[in-house]
């Protein structure tokens, strides 16, 4: 119905929630720059095989004679290595594009799984309350009293190495943050009238939980989601650097930095330096976008 009604140009323009959200978000120049950088990073990660200058893992193309070249060197085949090469003669820029793909992939995937698991558990705790709530929140409290790196190391020691193991470990580290956030906002929402109305209509629990309660708990979840994804990427890089994370067949940024470690003492800084910069830019831009999201989505700060 509303589509057919023409909007009177003399009235104030209609402001949809999405519209307001976009205009609030674009208020901060820093956040917009961070968002743009983040989009470029995601683009690179998605299309790494198409945009990298060389394929660093094609053994036929990589020559050991090109090893350890400083940034800007030209290979024997006439390819310019803008950021230099690593010990095995791989182009560092290309390795970083592929590494970004792996780092971002592992971080986002573990974040999404943790979001689903944590949200379901947190909603359950808030909705049922009582003993269920006490038990779940006690587990959350206990887990959060240990630092993330320690929990991750315990899980890695227990699970072993491998991409799937690292993702499981990252999910188990993160779920508690989501569960606590969702429970907090769900407890507030639960007592509102629309939930009462839905209950009176005789809707079943599952429908009330996921169709009515969950959408209203989303804003804080989005904020926690961005911060946690940045944490997950950083934690994966740390674990991989320590040699207990991803296997060498999945060279994430953390592994690239670790590879450069042995060459650093001889002054070949670039092998560790540039992947670290890429990691730093990724984490900072996610955090800056997350900060702005928090300000925009927080109703208390609304103008």
């Amino acid at each position: 119905m509303s589509e057919t009604v023409k909007h009177d140009p003399n009235l104030a323009p209609v402001e949809t929630p999405l519209h307001r959200f976009v205009s609030d978000f674009s208020d901060s120049a820093i956040a917009m720059i961070a968002l743009a950088v983040l989009l470029v990073i995601v683009f690179i990660a998605l299309f790494a095989p198409f945009i990298s200058p060389t394929n660093p893992y094609d053994l036929a193309k990589v020559s050991i004679f090109d090893g350890k070249l400083p940034p800007g060197s030209v290979s024997m085949d006439g390819v310019t290595f803008w950021l230099g090469t690593d010990g095995a003669g791989r182009d560092l820029l290309s390795s970083m594009f592929y590494g970004l793909r792996i780092s971002l992939g592992v971080g986002v995937m573990s974040g999404v799984i943790a979001l689903c698991v944590g949200t379901t558990i947190g909603l359950t705790a808030a909705y049922y309350g009582g003993r269920v709530d006490t038990l779940i929140m006690r587990i959350v409290d206990i887990q959060l009293s240990f630092p993330a790196i320690l929990v991750a190391l315990i899980l890695i020691a227990a699970l072993g190495k491998g991409v799937d193991k690292v993702i499981i470990a990252l999910v188990l580290v993160q779920w508690a943050y989501y569960a606590r956030t969702v429970r907090g906002s769900a407890l507030v929402e639960r007592n509102k009238e629309y939930i009462e109305a839905a209950t009176c209509l005789g809707l079943d629990n599952k429908r009330i939980l996921f169709r009515h309660l969950l959408p209203n708990c989303l804003p804080p979840l989005i904020v926690v989601g961005t911060v946690q994804t940045a944490h997950a990427i950083s934690l994966e890089a740390t674990l991989s650097f320590l040699g207990v994370g991803l296997p060498i067949t999945e060279p994430s940024l953390g592994l690239l930095i670790a590879n450069g470690f042995e060459y650093m003492m001889s002054g070949r800084y670039w092998i560790s330096f540039f992947p670290g910069i890429a990691l730093l830019i990724t984490i900072v831009s996610i955090n800056l976008v997350g900060d702005q999201l928090r300000d925009v989505l927080n109703p208390r700060l609304q103008k």
Binding site: I142, P147, T238, M264, G267, S272, V284
Partner: protein
Amino acid sequence: MSVFIIRRLLQSIAVVAVMSLIVFVGVNVVGDPVDMLINPEADQAEIARVIRDLGLDRPLHEQYLYFVKNALQGDLGKSFTFGESALKLIVERAPATFELALSALLMAIVFGVPLGVIAGMRPDAWSSKTIMAGSILGFSLPTFWVGLMMIMLFAVVLGWLPSTGRGDTVEVFGLHFSFFTLDGWSHLLLPALNLALLKISLVIRLARAGTREAMQQDYVKFARAKGLSESRIVFVHVMKNIMIPVVTVLGLEFGSLIAFSVVTETVFAWPGMGKLLIDSLHNLDRPVIVAYLMIIVLVFVVINLIVDIFYSLLDPRVRLKDAGQ
């Protein structure tokens, strides 16, 4: 009150028990130490003898019960690679880690509090904005990478400080400390700063928030009215009040410093417990992994228990809420 303490104590014991089960079962299912430890040229009889010696032929639940029984007597098994008691190996390396963590904690206060106070006094000045930007960066920078860059800059390019190891130590009460030698200090400086970076950022935020709040308070206005100098107001009146949350939070963070020292110790080849853990993970030295994780879990559980009890003493609402559930 005693009911509260007993409940928390039982809960802590449960946490330790569950952790020991997860760690033990997990660690013992992963990998086969026989492949790594036995000489490839050993014959069948030799392999069987070693497996029997290490107790690897028994079923897992028996190994676990045996482990718990010994653990309660302070015996966490023998290291596969060193052939020594795992507990002894860890205790030997503990002073190095504690020294590192303590230095990092002191650095967090020495650098973090003044910077935070400056940022809190004039929140809109460019100096404050620079400090806060630095603190955001401190939160985002991956610790291990900063460590590498510190080695690159100070050890390789400038050559001012040594890059790895612990340097000269002095023996005090049978334990080795680098606090007392110049060489020890020069080795300690970079790793401690690296470990402290995250906490400096944290302290800056706490001190800034505390200062901003304190400057609005009546006692500061009164001190001004009394004609006290600005420096006296800041160093005596404001400082006293912001140190309470800073010290509380840092006390809680000490455990996390010990956990994070795993990363810093690996970067700087600092011979502490964390490096031992990573080496043991690479060698699949199961008794040492299990022993380290059990000790660190125990340390955390004890810290949390003490904090909980203190909070409940200071704030009765905590234990009333707990009893109400």
